[in-house]
């Protein structure tokens, strides 16, 4: 599972030797995130976001389990128990704000993690399974966050639930029975709220399980790195501990500073004021928007306004929205270029940044009202999103002339320092 030169776990204390014989858990940890796991020596800060996502999950689980102690999953009291948590429960406001903003930071971190993978080609062989499991985690996160947002039973909770479950109603024939089955009624109600609470409690632990698989799959080939050149020998790696525990620790510090800055100084900035109005099935808020992390997908959903052949616009929007994510499952086979890192792919790099701008514009449109010019912009940019993956990427892979790759990770590191110091490269460590 690891490189042959990985350090071996040799417990010195008799107690640890005794534990190691009965249950080699410390050994597992040592080999996974300790000195026994050799990691490329040249990882940059983009490689921090996996650990940060793990930290965000822990924050969600701790604050969530605590809030569940004060929450009443019943449509008559849900809204007021959340308000009580905010006003009456000791430090309840802190738990709730940490949980609500924690969800946003979780998505920020995960989006950066995904973009890292896209830019550095981490999805390519031999790490396809790592990428696929990551997408499964992403889907589970979206389901979890969606159901969590319903729990406070405010106006956006209610109407968000109605619109999102309405997506299933677009499926021909079986759609409406599925929608009713999901909700346990003809509209969101007590039954829906209860099941969402149950699943919202469960899914984070399922996510934790899939994360274990994700890391297991990662540790078979080991981490990729900014050059995309595979590890060739011991000189290319350093042990995870203390090198990357230290680097990740620094990243966690920066993350917590930013997180707490929002948490304490702008806790409602990322939320929507309408969710402080209790759910009212008879009045739709003037402008229903999901949480910001769903905006790009929401824009794709709304981009379809006319029927195409015999497929109704509503179904097209739903299909396109799901397709925009499912498409990513095929990415390892759509991008056939053997070069991983965007550093050495001049054409790919340009289109990568265009894609990022495309997604940001879609995000902006998804948060804007369903009016012109936003609808038209969404249509164009949604079209480009699909074109990027289905047409542009395969074509680039065929026509691009990649830059010369460094001979090894070590060579690239030493070349960089030689340039920085203005002196000739030191003799490569051998």
């Amino acid at each position: 599972m690891s490189f042959p030169w990985a350090e071996h776990y040799t417990p010195k204390h008799p107690l640890m030797q005794w534990v190691d014989e009965k249950l080699p858990l410390p050994r597992l940890v040592y080999n996974a995130i300790g000195a026994g796991y050799p990691v490329p020596r040249n990882l940059n800060y983009f490689w921090n976001f996996g650990v940060l996502a793990g930290v965000a999950l822990v924050i969600q689980i701790v604050t969530g389990v605590i809030m569940a102690m004060h929450y009443g999953a019943n449509d008559l009291v849900a809204f007021s128990t959340v308000e009580q948590t905010m006003r009456d429960v000791n430090a309840g406001w802190l738990m709730r704000y940490a949980h609500a903003n924690g969800a946003s930071f979780f998505f920020i971190v995960v989006y950066l993690h995904i973009f890292r993978g896209l830019y550095f080609g981490s999805y390519k062989a031999p790490r396809e399974m790592v990428w696929l499991l990551g997408l499964v985690i992403f889907l589970l996160m979206m389901a979890t966050a969606f159901m969590g947002y319903v729990l406070p039973w405010g106006q956006m909770s209610y109407w968000g639930a109605k619109v999102i479950t309405g997506l299933f109603g677009a499926i021909p024939v079986v759609g409406e029975p599925i929608q009713t089955w999901l909700l346990g009624g003809f509209a969101p109600g007590n039954a829906s709220l209860n099941r969402f609470f149950s699943l919202h409690f469960l899914l984070p632990f399922v996510i934790a399980g899939v994360i274990i698989l994700h890391i297991w799959a990662l540790h078979i080939p080991g981490s990729s790195n900014p050059t995309g050149v595979e590890v060739q020998g011991p000189q290319d790696t350093v042990p995870f501990h203390p090198y990357y525990t230290a680097k990740d620790g620094f990243g966690v510090g920066v993350f917590l500073i930013l997180f707490t800055a929002v948490l304490f100084f702008a806790p409602n900035y990322l939320g929507h004021p309408d969710n402080y109005i209790e759910a009212n099935p008879l009045s739709t808020p003037a402008h229903i928007v999901p949480e910001w992390y769903f905006w790009p997908f929401y824009a794709i959903l709304r981009a379809f306004t006319v029927d195409f052949f015999f497929v109704p616009a509503k179904l097209l929007g739903v299909l396109a929205m799901f397709a925009s994510i499912l498409l990513l499952f095929f990415l390892p086979w759509l991008d056939t270029s053997p070069v991983r890192s965007g550093h050495y792919r001049p054409m790919f790099r340009k289109f990568f940044w265009i894609l990022i701008i495309d997604v940001l514009v879609l995000g902006y449109c998804g948060g804007a009202p369903a009016e012109e010019p936003y609808v038209m912009i969404s249509q164009l940019f949604a079209g480009y999103y699909f074109a990027h993956f289905l047409i542009i990427l395969p074509l680039i892979a065929r026509f691009e002339k990649p830059l010369p790759l460094p001979g090894s990770i070590t060579e690239s590191v030493l070349a960089k320092y030689a340039k920085a110091d203005g002196e000739t490269a030191a003799v490569p460590a051998e």
Partner: protein, 188 residues
Amino acid sequence: MASVEHSDGQSLSGGEGVRRRDFINIAAVSFAGVGAVVVALPLIDQMNPSADVLALASTEVDLSAIQPGQAIKTTFRSQPLFVRQLTPAEIAEADKVDPSTLRDPQTLEERTVDGKKQWLITMGVCTHLGCVPLGAGEGENRGEFGGYFCPCHGSSYDTAARIRKGPAPKNLEVPKFSFTSDTAILVG
């Protein structure tokens, strides 16, 4: 499935092509499979609407206070219901449209009760993704076609609550209802 070879396999299979062990294996797994499906059914079905949700009675609506041009919002099966009395101008406007040009072709006649064409009773549930369209309340935006306007993704309905523009695929649903007197209806 592990299959065990026996030197006297002939006697186990009783001389036929299928060995007894294979048969037992398939039979046992099939039996367990059927059992799993039978157990899964109640596990899935429990999520369907419960009896108390389904038992919601029909709704009676008093029409006497609704003036031409006005509408009220009430509920039917815990979803909004729009009850509107159309003005002659609104009726004329709805009749002017050639139904074959519509996305969901229907005439105002087909959407109302004979002889009571002015009473337009529809669900207040946008057929796109289920928002409550605006237009039943006083002073709300009634959209380009003067009926209802859904703010969620911009579907516009005309004076007969037929879809005219935007992503919604169908006209606002007309529930089953009947007049119990000249000024009252029973929905459901």
